[in-house]
Symmetry: C2
DNA sequence: AGAAATTCTGACCCGCGCGTCAATGAATTC
DNA sequence: GAATTCATTGACGCGCGGGTCAGAATTTCT
């Protein structure tokens, strides 16, 4: 009778273990490379057996794929809520940059994978991710374009601007060490101001 | 009698084939990942047999290592000659950014490997590369610091500035398609002006 | 031409990592 | 407490890629 209830509980448990596996997989993948990390590594790093991982995931590719979709979905949701405010383009772009930078640092391992290891996915999967990344970039581009039309941003190819933003933010995990004087917040602030100073139409002097 | 002459010729021939192998290896590595590309792939991509590659290189790691050292040496030489001029810090930084951006685009495959696949090297090799990268960054930092002292650059942590520069430039190959309206030169110019606008102390208004 | 060095070949070994499977142990349900 | 579902185990098959090796083909020197 509590059929559905039971399945619900089961699903919750499984989701928990899956998340656990994904988290350590991401950490290992990030600094061992996808192919450099075996399912055994992931499992034993959690005190499990390889088979356990295969009980919760179809194969290695699915583990990777979930990492991609989860991180993207989270970022996308964040960015969409930001775009929905009615701030001025410069303020909005600044908070988008800040948000993206913070997100990247917040889950550095996942980010590294997301931007570095797309090539390890299936061709079909790659297409999906490429499309989603384009949509994500599009959010930035629209805001920038709006700013150009309002005369507060220089008329630079949006591709260039947006890729610079993404490029700067994504490079952070490569050098950032927590514990230093540079907090994620300061870094994010700096990125935002760097880009905005470089884009804004100079006040007539 | 022409013993030394003969060895010289041999060396020259071998160097030629080695370069050939390195070039295609770099191309394949760049978009297949180091582990995703077999020695067979490299060889047959040149009409060779696997054994030929092993005749010219000790093992896969050596191929990779040569890619790292060659690209670094070239970049380092370029940057050192730039630093040796006595331009003002802002002009010098601008040309350094331009040069780096152009270098990255000029050998996109090599660059991608250099910045993405350091983890595939030996621990000892990684240390060497890390050190060399730091020295390279140091060239930028010194110029920036000089600019700060002369009051033409804002007093921002140099790490932040330099990593932004490197981050932007290195992200270019990820999206750049040759043949579009955006030439490498325009891109390099944009990067230079973006960073400089973001760093320069605003003229007193 | 014959010897010696150089380049190339193809078959082979070996370890490792993915993924499978039958079976066991642990919970839950009735 | 028997039955069913859920979770876990460990052994195994298998392909693939790195690297070796003995020797063949080719070039170079005398």
């Amino acid at each position: 009778m509590n059929l559905t209830l039971r399945e619900e509980l089961k699903a919750k448990k499984q989701a928990y273990v899956q998340d656990e596996i994904l988290a350590t997989a991401a950490k290992l993948f990030a600094d061992g490379g996808i192919r450099g990390v075996t399912i055994d590594d992931i499992a034993s790093s959690l005190g499990y057996t390889k088979s356990v991982v295969y009980y919760y995931f179809k194969n290695k590719n699915q583990v990777l794929w979930e990492i991609f979709t989860k991180i993207h979905d989270a970022w996308w949701a964040d960015m969409e809520t930001l775009v929905d405010t009615d701030d001025a383009p410069d303020a909005m772009l600044a908070s988008m940059i800040r948000k993206h930078a913070l997100n990247v640092l917040d889950r550095a391992a996942w980010s590294a994978i997301y931007f570095r290891d797309q090539g390890e996915l299936t061709d079909a999967q790659q297409k999906v991710i490429t499309k989603r990344k384009r949509e994500y970039d599009q959010l930035f581009k629209q805001v920038y374009q709006k700013g150009v039309e309002q005369g507060i941003f220089q008329d630079i190819p949006t591709t260039l601007v947006v890729n610079s933003i993404i490029g700067i933010c994504n490079s952070t995990p490569a050098w950032y060490k927590s514990g230093g004087p540079l907090t994620p917040d300061r870094i994010a602030d700096y990125y935002a101001s760097l880009v905005l100073d470089g884009c804004r139409v100079p006040a007539n002097s």
